[in-house]
């Protein structure tokens, strides 16, 4: 949020960081999967290992550009989750889907 507003870095560096984050495609099955195809989103995922079928952290954060040019910041942290990676990804995709629908109505 404060990164997006340019409170942390110069304009040039803010744009560079967000631009680099838009190239993050390691976890496109999470928040990005819940956004309409082609939506610009700067992403910052995070993932822990798994212990006895429980994953400590399965996260994703996004700065999404909406059709009207405004921005939606989503921070989603899933901790202590059981289930498969596909299940966990689907949880985060659902978060993005409802957040996008809420912001674009």
């Amino acid at each position: 949020m404060r990164l997006h507003r340019g409170e942390l870095l110069t304009g040039e560096n803010t744009a560079w960081v967000i631009g680099e984050m838009r190239e993050m495609h390691a976890r496109d099955t999470r928040l990005r999967a819940g956004l309409p195809p082609g939506t610009a989103a700067a992403l910052r995922p995070g993932t822990s290992g798994e212990t006895d079928g429980v994953r400590a952290a399965h996260n994703d954060n996004a700065i999404v550009t909406l059709p009207d040019g405004s921005h939606l910041v989503i921070a989603a942290f899933l901790k202590g989750s059981k289930g498969t990676d596909a299940d966990r990804d689907a949880v985060l995709a659902r978060v993005a889907r409802v957040a996008y629908a809420w912001a674009t109505r």
């Binding site: 960081v17 984050m21 910052r44 995070g46 952290a57 996260n59 939606l72 921070a75 957040a99 809420w102």
Partner: protein
């Protein structure tokens, strides 16, 4: 009568408005260009508003960018960031339609009487650009969800092509109840909808089904309270390009001005001499053009009946005002050609007891019968049944035609539409069937997709009610409950700060999300001149780190890698490379330096306390081997089997973020 914000025409419109009019006023928007977006402030005022246990009236507001070039482009309304302050009347709310093509302004508490609101709406900044904008308003009536009855209890209604529920032989077996938006079977079969015809071209082809996508009036919708007025139509023309006006201008015929028409061209501006008068001479494509331009759509025959009759039990040959008689009707086209209410009656006295005086429907929609004919999408023609109820997007073709592919657009004889409600032709005409009004369910012209612009033809547009704005917090709670763990979410609309979340005051392990503060710290160091991002560093075998790292694999394969710090930052941000992250962390003073920057920025909910390597060691409960190598480290972790149920080390202290999101 509503005044469609002819800012250009406001003076003449006000001067000519008849005394009974409802007089919607929409001011010229004041634009406030802020860092968060472009806001339009408008004052919206109308008379005779209401909200009661049954329904309410509302204003549909839309914006156009009023640049030097015509057509004026449509301006969408943003999803969030709106407010309504009541100057007089009830508190108000905003329901933005899908895609932001317009918004309903609606009362949020019961009331009856005048309304005056200061409305502030956030517009789509890209649509506005550097232009000024104009706002256009239409008075609407909310028609709530619910089942209703089709058909006329008078057996003679069948001869006027009223529909009925069929028995096994195709004969009437009572009224047809529409109780869902599901497809409706049509035909001579028990329980199906059916009707008799003498001339299918006028009354319908008696075929079906009526598909599920065809709007049936069970789902809630808004309809214009009145037919399009001449002032509204002139204001519409004034926003169009030259080519479009040549097609959409309705006042070219010999008889236009002799037939209640008052629209004229004054210089290059369309002016309505009687702006509150219902617009006649509206052809089908004219009505569709207006509807698309306004972000609305035509109504269907079924919606006409719903708006007229509501949930009331029908009487034989009932009119939309709920009785079978016009004896008390005081709503007439008077000697001066205006639609007026005679005697002591006045729209402010409208109640359920005076509907038949004022010509108001069950939901207090005005003039559904009488005044000018309503044009409706018919279920009696394949092109009508292909209608899916899509809404206008504010944009027309160069010729001023609607662009929705499910609308039965074409020349006047395209089919797919028809006429309901009857119409007033000229003074001295004896009342007869359909003149000047018709019982609700008589539909002798219900499927007649023909007729040029003429004295008794008007138009009224509708819009399916927007789904209520999703309750995001509630939806997130539901997702969290089914997440298989603890889900913490914070969602913030950056420009308006509108926000919602779930479990958002808990602590969470950030994992690689902690690399963002590292990158920010590095860039701030560079901005302060304490770090040169162009500096090259060489990463060797011992720089390799556990976890995800394409760079470590590259070193393993091709030997030491030399790259700039900016390249390393790029690797962190684009692929979350652990080797790159630890090397940058070392270059910038380690975790304490990052922590100091976070403190300086007053970001107190994020903990960046360890390197990737130290974190991995803590996670597995091993010491970092000295001398370090990735292989020796992995060997040591392979011997560890963490006891089941033991608290993982990240619980004790690690990359946590507090109040996730807005930090």
């Amino acid at each position: 009568m509503p005044k469609l914000l002819p800012c250009l025409l406001a003076a003449s419109a006000l001067a000519a408005g008849p005394a009974h009019a409802s007089e919607l006023h929409v001011s010229i928007p004041k634009l406030d260009r802020t860092a968060e977006g472009i806001y339009a402030s408008v004052q919206v005022e109308w008379k005779n508003g209401w909200r009661n246990g049954r329904n309410y009236d509302a204003v549909w507001l839309l914006f156009k960018a009023s640049g030097a070039e015509r057509p004026w482009p449509h301006v969408r309304i943003a999803g969030t960031g709106h407010s309504v302050a009541a100057v007089a009347g009830p508190p108000g709310g905003v329901a933005v339609a899908d895609g932001g093509v317009g918004a309903f302004l609606l009362p949020t508490a019961d009331h009856r009487g005048p309304v005056k609101w200061d409305v502030r709406l956030r517009l789509n900044a890209r649509d506005v650009g550097t232009d000024e904008v104009r706002a256009f308003g239409l008075e609407m009536v909310y028609v709530p969800e619910g089942a209703f009855l089709l058909g006329d209890p008078d057996p003679a209604g069948v001869d006027y092509n009223a529909v009925y529920r069929s028995d096994a032989r195709g004969e009437p077996d009572g009224l047809y109840r529409v109780d869902s938006e599901d497809a409706i079977a049509v035909g001579p079969r028990r329980g199906a909808l059916f009707y008799k015809t003498k001339n299918p071209q006028f009354e319908g082809d008696r075929l079906g089904p009526i598909p599920a996508a065809f709007p049936k009036g069970v789902a809630p919708f808004y309809t214009m309270k009145y037919e399009i007025t001449q002032g509204e139509y002139a204001a519409f023309l004034n926003t169009l390009g030259d080519h479009a006006t040549a097609h959409r201008a309705i006042h070219g015929g010999h008889l236009y001005t002799a037939s209640r028409g008052t629209i004229r061209l004054d210089g290059s501006t369309y002016v309505a001499g009687a702006p509150a008068r219902p617009a006649n001479f509206i052809g089908w494509d004219d009505g569709l053009g207006f509807a698309d331009w306004a972000g609305l759509r035509p109504m269907t025959e079924l919606e006409f009946t719903k708006a007229a009759r509501g949930t009331a039990m029908p009487l034989p040959h009932d009119f939309p005002w709920g009785t079978a008689s016009a004896d008390r009707l005081a709503r007439v086209i008077g000697d001066d050609d205006d639609l007026v209410t005679t005697g002591a009656a006045d729209e402010s006295t409208l109640s359920d007891a005076t509907r038949d005086v004022l010509g108001a429907s069950f939901y207090w929609v005005m003039d559904l019968a009488g005044s000018v004919w309503e044009k409706v999408i018919t279920f009696g023609h394949p092109r009508g049944r292909a209608f899916r109820g899509t809404h206008g997007d504010g944009h027309l073709t160069d010729r001023g035609n609607a662009t929705n592919d499910d609308w039965p657009l074409g020349d006047d004889d395209a089919g797919g539409y028809g006429y309901r409600g009857g119409g007033y032709y000229e003074r001295g005409m004896k009342p007869r069937e359909y003149v000047p009004y018709s019982p609700t369910e008589w539909r002798r012209y219900g499927s007649w997709g023909g007729g040029p612009r003429s004295i008794a033809y008007g138009f009224r547009a509708v819009r399916t009610a927007p789904q209520p704005r999703p309750d995001l917090a509630n939806e997130l709670r539901q997702i969290a409950a089914a997440s298989g763990g603890t889900l913490g979410v914070r969602v913030v609309h950056a420009e308006t700060r509108a926000a919602a979340g779930v479990n958002d005051d808990d602590w969470y392990p950030m994992m690689s999300a902690y690399k963002l503060p590292i990158a920010i710290h590095a860039l701030r160091q560079a901005e302060a001149g304490r770090l040169n991002l162009a500096k090259t560093v060489t990463l060797g075998t011992d720089d390799r780190r556990p976890g995800f790292s394409p760079l470590a694999r590259l070193i393993e394969k091709d030997g030491p890698q030399t790259m700039t710090l900016r390249d390393l930052l790029s690797a962190i941000l684009r692929v979350s490379d652990n080797t790159a992250s630890d090397r940058v962390l070392r270059e910038i003073g380690g975790p304490p330096a990052v922590a100091a920057t976070l403190r300086e920025l007053r970001i107190d909910g994020v903990d960046v306390s360890r390197s990737e390597l130290q974190f991995a060691a803590d996670y597995y409960g091993v010491k970092i081997p000295a001398p370090y190598s990735l292989e020796r480290f992995m060997d040591s972790t392979a011997r560890v089997r963490r006891p089941a149920g033991a608290a993982p080390p990240w619980r004790a202290a690690h990359r946590r973020e507090h109040g996730v999101g807005d930090r």
